[in-house]
Symmetry: C2
Subunit: 548 residues, 2 copies
């Protein structure tokens, strides 16, 4: 073992050593790194999703709540990590892992991430981030321009302005959405006469001053669950996050939206923000943003677009039109760790107006002094890593046309898969893909026929059983570990808004090919037939209905 591998005895000299950068490239740590890289590459090349082992078994490796009293060799610990952690983690990059938005990464990000980790910059302030500060401002500028398409003059003026901010880099879409609604709330309840604004005086005084009985945020019933957290934490209350009806394509109904606003105003509840979803988490649907913008404008509401998932579509000149109206939003959330293929932890919120974030600006004596360009004056978070660098690099290495191709092929692949499902007699497409997300379920052919003629009561009963079957198939497939689709519950118009369990597929990984898609449904069909209890029940009820 080399001298940099272990704190052999816990003494200060050994500790100093672990903070010392090795001189020789063939140091012990260098060798460990090489071994580790090879092992990780093997893992990443494997095309299975997860080695099945029950969680309760895995937990046995993580039971000790005491911090170790003796140090471990780095080499020994690395092996321990490979055995207990790596081998039991999920291959989110496997081409058959098509159940969630977490997908493969471009391989060049592995070496480049080293820069981020090694430099350990803290972007809250320039004193600990120097070049990373203008870099992050540029990345925010790029995303702002992608959405709002202002001219060079605009960005020259605002991008690096100390007193302004085009947005905030966040750990993820949840913080981005909360930030947007925080800004919206504070602007809606701003200082006025004697009242110093909600930020200073709090919500109770704000309501008293403005004479409202409540503050409401409106979003379609397909809105992301993070918005509930936002309504809770902001003091608005979850019940004032109003879920507006969607149409058969899971898009918000503008008429229902207008009616809801009307209804709120009668109760003296102030609808201060309307959220359009550009890519719902469950179905990938895009709200009619232009129509929402009209309503928001008329009602003088903040218009926020949650494009955490779908925002990257703007990179494609071929599909940009799907998000028409987004350029009218007051704020937009985009997660680079979703369709921009950046490692976890790269959310962003952009504001049309460079002065919007003034309502949440804050300062401190030892950093974030007025007039400084410290990014921390406009972020909910404090200390933050230099994650923006990886967005910057991917923008340069992949470039916009590269992203366009990635987006386009994902959408085409989703269309292909939707067609494939529609061709199967024993599958049912539940939501067509607008982007690269779709939902479907398995329904035996005869049961389809039975559903067509069943009574309301029988229909409901069959539906319940199919829900159980969907759950059974999805769980079993996950346990088999060859592929993974996720599961959610929708209320399709076609089925009279009955709660319907569905498979949910996200086709973001460029390495997912048509063969894999074929085998995913093949496996699901096979699993369905092994269902020991539910399938027989379905078959019996089907026969009864069809009078076989």
């Amino acid at each position: 073992m080399g001298s940099d591998d272990k704190i052999v005895d816990v003494n200060f000299e050994s500790l100093l050593r672990i903070f010392t950068v090795p001189e020789a490239p063939d140091s012990t740590l260098g060798n460990i790194e090489q071994k580790l890289s090879q092992n990780l590459n093997e893992f990443l090349r494997e095309h299975i999703v997860a080695e099945e082992k029950p969680l309760s078994e895995i937990e046995k490796d993580f039971l000790n709540s005491a911090i170790p009293e003796t140090p471990t060799f780095v080499s020994e610990h690395t092996q321990h990590l490979l055995d207990t952690v790596v081998s039991h983690s999920v291959h989110t990059s496997a081409p058959s892992f098509i159940g969630h938005m977490t997908s493969a990464l471009p391989y060049f990000l592995m070496p480049l991430s080293k820069i981020m980790i090694a430099l350990n910059q803290n972007l809250v302030k320039i004193e600990t981030s120097k070049a990373f500060t203008p870099l992050e401002r540029q990345v925010l500028g790029m995303l702002h321009r992608l959405i709002y398409q202002q001219g060079d003059d605009f960005y020259q003026h605002w991008m690096h302005s100390a007193e302004h901010s085009l947005g905030a880099f966040c750990s993820g879409g949840t913080i981005a959405n909360i930030t947007a609604l925080w800004v919206a709330r504070n602007n809606a309840l701003k200082a006025d006469g004697d009242f110093q604004g909600v930020g200073k005086e709090g919500l109770y005084h704000a309501m008293m001053h403005y004479g409202y009985k409540g503050m409401a945020v409106l979003v379609s019933e397909r809105g992301h669950y993070s918005l509930k957290k936002a309504a809770d934490i902001l003091g608005i209350g979850q019940q004032n996050l109003i879920a507006v009806k969607t149409d058969s394509q899971n898009r918000i109904c503008p008429i229902a939206l207008e009616e809801t606003i009307c209804h709120l105003k009668i109760q003296n509840i102030k609808p201060f923000a309307i959220i359009g979803v550009a890519g719902t988490t469950e179905t990938g649907s895009i709200d009619p943003l232009d129509k929402i913008a009209d309503i928001a404008e008329r009602e003088e509401c903040h218009f926020h677009v949650d494009a955490a998932w779908g925002g990257a579509t703007l990179m494609s000149n071929n599909h940009r039109y799907l998000l028409k109206g987004i350029e009218r939003a007051d704020s937009v959330t985009i997660d680079a760790h979703k369709q921009m293929y950046i490692p976890m932890g790269a959310g962003m919120v952009l504001f049309k107006n460079p002065s919007a974030m003034t309502s949440i600006e804050h300062h401190a004596e030892y950093i974030l002094r007025k007039g400084s360009k410290d990014l921390g004056a406009h972020t909910l978070e404090g200390s933050r890593s230099g994650m923006a660098m990886l967005v910057y690099s991917s923008m340069h290495i992949i470039s916009r046309p590269g992203y366009e191709l990635l987006i386009d092929q994902s959408i085409e692949k989703a269309k292909f898969f939707a067609n494939l499902i529609e061709q199967q007699q024993d599958f049912e497409l539940i939501s067509k893909p607008e982007l690269c997300i779709l939902t479907y379920r398995y329904v035996p052919l005869k049961t389809k026929k039975a559903l067509a003629i069943a009574s309301a009561k029988e229909k409901e009963e069959l539906h319940q059983l199919l829900n159980e079957l969907t759950k059974f198939i999805q769980k079993k497939q996950r346990e088999n570990g060859r592929s993974f689709v996720s599961r959610t519950r929708l209320t399709p118009e076609k089925w009279g808004r009955m709660e319907t369990n569905v498979f949910r597929v996200v086709l973001a990984n460029p390495l997912t090919d048509k063969g894999i898609l074929h085998s995913v449904i093949e496996e699901q069909r096979k699993i369905a037939k092994t269902s020991p209890i539910v399938l027989p029940k379905i078959e019996t009820l089907t026969s009864t209905i069809l009078q076989l």
Copy 2:
């Protein structure tokens, strides 16, 4: 150039290639990585803080707001990063960078970080994090035990319980503090009769129901600025974050705390949380936690301890006593990216009661279903990276006694530096170190004498000038780039609470030796003497006062 280096033409085959893990270890990307590592190691070995270049100059490299229309070679872009980003970033790991809490990292974290990046797990749910979920729960358990010292039974029962949570892993201390106060607010305004709780109904209804005129959080005037953000976002209002007087050692005055609570209650404002600071950001002072615990208990307030910086002291059996009383806190914030030497982005909040977080629990249809062990049900953030793994690894490789040594030597070094400053005739120690933070300033010897006999007006005048001088020295030293101390503004009792600019030093880097500390004050003394305007003014005024 190898085939994995560039998307030569933007076509789908080239794009597939960048998502493909190279087979050969000597691939182009492999070579790029090696070159990069060497360059980073050189950077990390350099013992300067920053190459001075004005920000306006650096910004010139980050002006383009358009996303590139053509792809760049990975090798070319890497060189670009080395030239424009790495060379102009801050050496936060330099032993003479003693101005902020961001410090050096143990080198073994470089290879181990690869695991985190490459696996790209998402800890919001088990389906995208598998073994990382019990791992994170174990890390939270270890920290919980470090603070609350419960027995094995306790952790066996709660650590992996689906319905409970010992805390939350966060992007940083700010989110941790906000989470603690969110939980406290929701527990203080919980469901009661017809009222469904503040989370559901919002603050306005909550206040109406409970009949309060306001909700207050109390913390010493040295509390972290993130608490202001928390009061703002939670709807409490910044003015209801009440700053309580501190004593001459920058610790909260318990009597003043009690008086403030009394005063609030008379106004029908509910003091729902008291915060003790265990390591103030500016002076490293620790509040009398036991006394605060007594008061919080009596007043039935949530007792939160912000130990973002100082919490790691609990690892040292020799200094643990300094935080006596922390085990009585309802919640505690600890940042592993501070004194636990983990890369940026590893905050944690721990709750004494495994059921405390129920008040902010949330679910969704596609993940976080009831009964699942998904970590996301109890976090403010949604998607999150596997950062907990690096804490886990450091706990094992360094071990508790290793951390103890690191903490102990930091504190000893701070004491040494404080003594050194007191030995200088022309420096003044402003705050003694309790942990490894101290503050001081430069005051010419004669001016010290003048201050002792000056009139109130002269004293104030001199003080103003010294403030300017401190600012001048700190800026100049930063620009020189050899070392870095930060600057803040305190109101020392000794100087009648006059606002006093001070140098602030954080001695966390184990590689910072006594020689460096000598040279830091040597350089400051030299810089002071080059002050073209302020020093002469100070000297003139000094002479007048001393009647020379």
